[in-house]
Amino acid sequence: MRFPCKMKYVIVAVALAVFMSAFPAAAASDATRAMDETVQKIFSLLSDKALAAPERREERRRLIMAEVDRRFDFVEMSMRALGRPWRGLNREQRIEFVRLFSELLKKTYIRRIEAYSDEKVEFRKENRDGKRAMVYSAIIRGDQEIPINYAMKLKKGRWRVYDVVIEGVSLVRNYRTEFSRVLRKEKYAGLVSRLRRKIEELAAKEGGADG
């Protein structure tokens, strides 16, 4: 009597396995696929000869940023970069902080994205824990490899990045260390004014000869 009972589970397991492999949407690597899609889209924008014209620079930036906005969860990133003090902020302050922090990130990283030319991105593995995944990738530049990992979360059926770990250094943790120090000494108002100043400084540099 026990044997058929076990058989039942075997059949279910086999059936599940068959369905899993038949429908890629259910596979364990969909976070990787999502990230890969974004990387490919950005690479195709960067390699588009027509978009590379200087007068279309702003347009190309906008298109790249639209892809970034789709894949990166700046709200979750801001929340984690701030840590516990996030709780003490009201809605307006939170929106203000997300705007400033994401602008700082975009202003610093767009240069790096635009500087890509003959690099290759390889996806290595993925660790999945429920609605979270860590996607391991590497940027290959000649004979050098830069490991970049994306911490992603499944929200409303979409995998989105909430942290980037470059060469073992987590962006969010790095900012959290910085922010918590500023918060301790200068409170939230100090942090906001420092962020504003930094963004202005970056915008000024952008216009200048540097770059």
Binding site: D73, V98, R132, G168, R173, V182
Partner: protein, 266 residues
């Protein structure tokens, strides 16, 4: 019995169908609102520390009793970089072609094999030690004294970087106070002790003891050869942070931790 067998199957079919259909629907919905800038969903969520991928213990307490002095050295290094290293490195990079720079970097890396070999062994990484030894043999001969990384590019033998600081870390010794050395840059008490130990395994330091000037020249070439690359990383970091000193200190800690845990081996 027949019904019992069928039910799980039906559930499986439903699950698979749902998995196929639901994400497509959600994607369409999400695509719609992604057009006009940032997605503010989650703004009302309270912060919760529930990250399965966060390193245990969260943010470690900052161990930096020498901060005032460290900041002076950090500022000194910053000026040294912008006033001396960067102009020299720009000139160097302009004159020396890319392939030659790569070759020089490879030669210096290859010479440092004894440090990596011993520290792989000290950590019980027998395979790692074998890789280091194999790379050294192949690159020193076929790779023309290490100029070409034949082992890496043709045989897929990737470097296994280990130093005494990492070995001590593996033995359970914490970083201790953060130290920002003049010229040498960020370190910790543990890693400084490691550096001093590794000095005796590094052939370049033997050159320096034979002929001080030759040692200093070799060290300078080794550093200026990669200064362009490293400088760009430093400038990016400085650009993106509110307090570069704190950003660098934390990046150094995270960087070393990932190497000690062998999450990254090069």
């Amino acid at each position: 019995m027949e019904r019992h067998r069928m039910r799980p199957l039906a559930v499986a079919v439903l699950l698979a169908a749902a998995a196929l259909v639901l994400p497509a629907g959600f994607c369409l919905a999400a695509d719609g609102d992604a057009g006009n800038g940032m997605d503010m969903s989650g703004i009302d969520m309270d912060y919760v520390e529930d990250d399965p991928f966060a390193p245990e213990g969260g943010a470690a307490a900052v161990n930096d009793p020498l901060e005032p002095l460290n900041r002076i050295f950090f500022a000194f290094n910053d000026r040294l970089y912008f006033w001396v290293v960067r102009p020299v490195s720009r000139g160097y990079d302009f004159v020396v072609p890319d392939t030659v720079r790569k070759g020089i970097r490879n030669i210096f890396f290859n010479i440092g094999a004894p440090v990596r070999l011993v520290n792989n062994l000290l950590q019980g990484e027998v395979k790692g030690a074998g890789v280091v030894f194999g790379r050294f043999l192949i690159n020193s001969t076929v790779g023309l004294a290490g100029f070409f990384d034949v082992a890496g590019s043709s045989l897929g033998l990737k470097p296994r970087r280990e130093d005494l600081g990492q070995t001590l870390g593996r033995y359970g010794i914490g970083g201790g106070p953060y130290i920002c050395w003049p010229i040498l840059g960020p370190s910790s008490l543990r890693d400084s002790i490691g550096l001093a130990g590794d000095y005796f395994l590094d052939p370049i330091s033997y050159l320096g003891r034979e002929d001080f000037l030759a040692g200093v020249s070799a060290y300078s070439l080794k550093k200026i050869n990669v200064a362009g690359e490293e400088g760009r990383v430093y400038e990016d970091m400085k650009r993106s942070s509110l307090d570069p000193y704190v950003a660098m200190r934390d990046a150094y800690r995270q960087f070393r931790e990932s190497r000690i845990k062998n999450e990254i081996r090069h």
